[in-house]
Amino acid sequence: MSPTDPPAIEVDRVSKWFGPTRALDDVSFAVAKGQSRALLGRNGAGKSTLVSLITGIARPDTGELRIVGEPLHGQDDRIGCVYQRSSLIPAFTAAENVLIKHYPRRRGGLIHWRELRERARGLLDEWTIGDLADEPVERLQPMHKKIVEICRALVSDPEVLILDEPTAGLDKSDTARLFALLERLRERGTTVLYISHHLEDVFRVCDSVTVLRDARHVLTAGIGDVTMAQLVEAIVGEQPPSAVTRPPRASEAPVVLSVRDVRVDDRVGPVDLELRAGECIGIAGLEGCGKATLARALVGLEPRSGEVVVDGREVEPGDVPEALRAGIGYVPEDRHVDGMVSVLDVSENSTMALAPRIGRRPLGFLPRLSRRADLDRAYAELARQWRIVASSPRQLISELSGGNQQKCVMARAFATDPRLLVLVNPTAGVDVSAKASILASLSSALDRGAGVLVFSEDADDFALCDRILIMIRGSVVAVLDEEWTEADLVAAMQGEAA
């Protein structure tokens, strides 16, 4: 590439405000053609905002963006993007979503459905999900939705590819497939902007990094010029929090959860397990193995058979309030689906499970009151503890950055001081230091005698686990105790070793 070539992406003194929140403050950097650049920063640093500016769905308040030397006007076909937040059309099939910008047409201009299906199937088949082509995406697993989005971004061979946390929700094999793909794209000269909170990945697939902190640009460097520790410091702005470790548990603690012969249709089970106070069990498995279904069944969101006893109390199947009252705190798999009410503010979202408890009943018979002041006080405490960044308790949760939304959902599950925590993908989209503080919160919950079930594919989430159950096709097939490595975990999930 000659040095006179204009950079593929040029961000020139760009600022963006959302009401009182400054999302980007005078940010400038450039990405040369063919580079693959990591864009890093804490939750709420402004990464996704920058993405929306580059793809033209929002405009900067000041400053300018240039793509291959030309100022950006609206949306540009040379850019492909996988947004952090799903931007699929729920009722459309996977195939139609993939080709939504490029419908194949017959000579008369009408859509050629067969060709559409075949082309999309071909693209999806590279990810081994070709047979989902005709499935409406709203019925797909989050992972498969993500793959559909990746396929869609790549359909037109974009000059610039933007990936905003593409691996969130992907399992190991698909992550590997994505990386291989990125490798190929790099050879083809595609410019990539890659956003992730997984720094190891960044070192694998990027050749340079840009770090945003508090809406400002703080660092741009070649990947060879920085160390992991330097990067973390640039992102966090201080000494990174030290890793959490936990002391081994005694096995005499009381049982908080006992699961006997639980089945969900023919999808899951039979599952038996026992969890003691202060114990943390991980449940790992590839996407679609049924672990989220098991979690949903435990809290009553999925009809099940078998027996679930929480803290000595048998929980009726299919009754969520009852399960939560028995002492379960639940973090669902996908916050956008059933984790948050996007039209309500952060304060209400984080205290939703708490409200019935802190509300008082005046005169004993009137409906239970929910006083804003009480809720806001409870929220303020949660926000402090979980470092939720919002401009005010009244800010709509949909306006928060993805990681902060996840923190709200986590905060809500912990707020009721549950005896049992059922956490699915708890750290989805949260930054390095928030991850550490989530683990710290987990640890202190364990210290208080709670039992924790972590359902995840991310090895980091299992840092505190005493053992890990491996699920394949709905049943627990293996257990990893004590010392395990990530390689063991991956192998076990794929059913290769026991």
């Binding site: 959302f18 009401g19 009182p20 929140t21 400054r22 709420g44 905002t49 929306s52 769905i57 929002a58 937040r85 508090d214 809406a215 966090v236 702005g237 201080e238 809290v299 969101l301 969520v320 309030p321 399960a323 939560l324 009252r325 639940y330 669902p332 689906v337 059933d338 984790g339 948050m340 009410v341 996007s342 039209v343 309500l344 503010d345 209400e348 939703m352 499970a353 409200a355 019935p356 509300g359 409906p367 239970r368 009151l369 929910s370 006083r371 470092r387 960044v389 919002a390 401009s391 005010s392 009244r394 709509l396 949909s398 306006e399 809500r412």
Partner: protein, 360 residues
């Protein structure tokens, strides 16, 4: 600890400004500028407009039925559903009840139910209709719009079948009391309607269940996952809506001192108009009862002004429509100027007026 961005100076100033100006309030009371204009115009058009009697009797008392029905509609819409059947309950419950009370000679059934029981029966009928709707919607998961639309047609038909199209009058006093009584000099209808507004407003804003209804309307899946009894609350909401509709029916009966199969006909459009003008988002999860009150008030004022003005009758409806359009546009402009500046989201670049308010 890291300084969070929110503690920096410019945002804080803005937050303060916002706290004082409360554009959220303006957003909720979008009908307020239009109300002010309506009052000014009305008082210019006719000296009799701004009299206590006109406002009390012809504006407020005349819109008590509309107000109660709009509260019912608002509750259901906030929860993400629709209840079209309320309009038919306005006729059905009183007609059936009065028919059972009146002697055969006066056009009744001859059962001659005790009038006080008859009064209670009105509410029981409302509750039963609501419970059926609630069961079909929350239990069988049928689409609320179409279920209650079918219920509307069914009940309108039943009302006609029962009453045989006859108007029954000379009702026992319990049925007409609210139409003529004055409490502390205020028409009883007005007191009842205001009480309904206040109770619903407090309920939705200050009780746990009220807040949960917003969550249900905003995202039922998330509400369920966080332990809210979505089905149960939805069911009871429909029951409440039925009871409120029955109350509206009683008010209507008291007002016209008789019952007729056509009472309440065509009020549904006005109900929805009042709710939406009052800031209720038809997609659920947003809107405040106080906003609904302004919506009802605006429509009642406009109708009264059209009555006392000298507009040729054939054009009254056209002008009514035009005024609603203008009210919407001024509302949007008033909101637009405040709100698009303060809180436009990149994912929703359009400042949809019904979204932009800080709800509740």
């Amino acid at each position: 600890m890291i300084a969070t961005p929110t503690t920096e100076s410019p945002p804080r100033v803005l937050t303060r400004v916002r706290g004082v100006l409360k554009p959220s309030m303006l957003g909720q009371l979008a009908a307020l500028p239009a109300i002010v204009i309506a009052v000014l115009v009305g008082s210019q058009l006719n000296r009799a407009f701004l009299t206590v009697d006109n406002i009390m009797t012809n504006v407020l008392a005349a819109s008590a039925v509309l107000g109660v029905l709009t509260v019912a509609a608002a509750l259901i819409i906030i929860a993400g559903h629709f209840d079209m059947s309320t309009q038919s309950v306005v006729a059905f419950a009183p007609v059936l009840s009065v028919w059972l009370v009146m002697p055969a000679a006066a056009g009744g059934s001859g059962v001659e139910l005790d009038p006080v029981l008859g009064l209670l029966l009105i509410f029981v009928l409302g509750a039963v209709v609501g419970a059926i709707n609630g069961f079909l919607v929350a239990g069988l998961k049928l689409n609320a719009f179409i279920v209650t639309l079918a219920m509307l047609i069914l009940l309108q038909g039943m009302t006609l079948g029962i009453g045989g199209g006859e108007t029954l009058s000379n009702l026992p006093e319990v049925f007409t009391y609210l139409g003529s009584a004055r409490w502390l000099g205020i028409p009883a209808e007005v007191v009842v309607a205001v009480a309904v507004f206040v109770a619903a407003g407090l309920f939705m804003r200050y009780t746990v269940t009220g807040r949960q209804i917003y969550a249900i309307g905003g995202n039922p899946d998330a509400a369920r996952a966080s332990g809210i009894r979505v089905e149960r609350i939805t069911f009871w909401l429909f029951v409440a809506s039925g009871v409120l509709a029955a109350l509206a029916g009683l008010l209507m009966t008291a007002r016209i001192a008789s019952v007729t199969a056509s009472q309440g006909n065509n009020i549904l459009f006005t109900v929805f108009a009042a709710a939406v003008i009052g800031g209720i988002d038809l997609r659920g999860g947003r809107g405040r009862i106080v906003g609904v009150a302004t919506g009802v008030l605006l429509l009642a004022l406009v109708q009264n002004i059209l009555l006392v003005s000298q507009i040729p009758s054939f054009w009254v409806n056209a002008i009514y429509g035009a005024i609603i359009l203008l009210a919407l546009m001024t509302g949007a402009l008033a909101q637009g100027s405040w709100l698009t500046r303060f809180r436009r989201s990149p994912h929703a670049p359009q400042p949809a007026p019904d979204r932009s308010g800080d709800d509740r």
